[in-house]
């Protein structure tokens, strides 16, 4: 996947903001945005307008009892608690495609500005394990080719993290590793597993302990 120039990103910015880019182009745009504050600002401004468009949809009264059923659903489906303990599960052979879509960036976007995402692209925030300061976001797309992309920030260290995913069937796969530079970085790659099967994305530190996790459910 080739790197995009600022000029190209400016051309694509409205489509990024509207979620109107196919997965591979979106991944390239995300990678550029992780490096470029100027382009981030442009996409952020356009995203605000794109998001506002949702307000144009007409309101409609839901069927009688909607609120009661919705609230009852909260009780029926207790929130999952983020599991920070490292669970040794059956670690499958890594089935990762050979094409990486990025490496470590110097200045990642801790909070990518686009809220209106392509349907099918899921986003989740990393929640740091107790005692950890790791933060960031992960995007997963199950389009023509599944991919993961993440931005990570952790103080000012240069730690190396392993990206591990847990699938819905409980299997875990280590997708690869990357090193932060001056406390930040971004990383991503295409993967040979269906991204829709990914339940949780974890960052493991050099000891194999979970530093942060993000639920994609």
């Amino acid at each position: 996947m080739s790197a995009l120039s600022c000029e190209t990103l400016h051309e694509l910015a409205p489509e990024v903001a509207l979620g109107a880019l196919p997965g591979d182009e979106r991944a390239a745009a995300l990678l550029h945005l992780a490096h470029c504050a100027e382009c981030q600002l442009l996409v952020e401004e356009l995203s605000t307008a794109a998001d506002a468009l949702l307000l144009a949809a007409p309101e409609a009264a839901p069927p009688s009892g909607f609120a009661r059923r919705t609230l009852a659903g909260f009780a029926d489906r207790p929130r999952r608690r983020t599991r920070f303990a490292f669970a040794v599960a059956s670690v499958l052979a890594v089935a990762v495609a050979a094409v990486g879509i990025g490496s470590v960036a110097d200045r990642p976007a801790a909070s990518p500005p686009f809220a209106l995402q392509t349907p099918g692209v899921r986003m989740a925030r990393f929640l740091a394990a107790p005692g950890e300061d790791v933060e960031g976001q992960v995007f997963a797309d199950a389009g023509d080719s599944s991919w993961l992309f993440m931005t990570v920030r952790d103080g000012d260290n240069s730690d190396t993290y392993v990206c591990q995913v847990e699938l819905r069937d409980g299997a875990t796969i280590n997708l690869g590793s990357f090193q932060l530079r001056h406390g930040s970085g971004s990383w991503g790659r295409t993967i040979a597993v269906d991204a829709r099967q990914i339940k949780t994305v974890r960052l493991l530190d050099e000891s194999g302990d979970v530093a942060a996790s993000a639920s994609l459910e």
């Binding site: 998001d51 307000l55 609230l71 909070s111 209106l116």
Partner: protein, 193 residues
């Protein structure tokens, strides 16, 4: 904090969301009451089926409840965050059930771009919704169509080009020009921070 003692309905959207995320039942009920018409309305506009829209709307509120802590006020208002969740769920649902089922004309009608919205309906719409519709209505119709297809139809530029029978470059130009004009209009109306 006991939200009941403060009158939850008077709380800001952000405070209600925080209460929802913390498990406060009164806040959760008030949150659903406050946004259910918008969430259901958007879901219905996209999936065009009341029962499916109800499922989508319920799931949207459940996602908001489960991921309330992920809300970042710097990235937009609570209502746009919630509507974004709803929009993506509705489009995903529609694509699973009936790929390519949503007709462009229906999409345009849903935001009043065909001029069929009556004054009575418009009068009860929230101010911000009226402002957005008015801004949208000021765009050339081809740009409106492109934006509506992208936002409510989940179409890529390539798909818009195919549906509209226009070159890809033209679809991209319409999207770009429409969104930039819309941004300018909304910014001038101080709707968009």
């Amino acid at each position: 904090m006991d939200l009941r003692s403060r009158g939850v309905d008077a709380l800001s959207d952000e405070a209600l969301l925080a209460g929802l995320g913390s498990g406060d039942k009164a806040a959760a009920a008030a949150f659903v009451r406050r946004f259910e018409r918008r969430v259901f309305g958007l879901a219905l506009s996209i999936v065009r089926d009341s029962a499916v829209a109800e499922d989508v709307a319920q799931e949207a509120f459940t996602r908001a409840w489960r991921h309330a802590q992920a809300y970042d006020a710097r990235r937009g208002s609570v209502v746009t965050w919630l509507l974004t969740i709803t929009r993506n769920l509705a489009l995903d649902t529609l694509r699973m059930r009936r790929p390519n089922a949503t007709a462009p004309d229906a999409l345009l009608e849903l935001v009043g771009t065909s001029g069929e919205r009556g004054p009575a309906e418009e009068a009860v719409a929230a101010d911000e919704s009226r402002d957005v519709r008015a801004a949208l209505a000021r765009l050339p119709v081809d740009q409106r169509r492109a934006l509506v297809l992208a936002v409510f139809g989940g179409r890529t530029a390539k798909e818009i080009a195919e549906e509209e029978g226009i070159p890809l470059g033209t679809a991209k130009t319409r999207i770009r020009a429409g969104l930039i004009k819309l941004r300018g209009t909304l910014a001038n109306e101080v709707l968009v921070p």
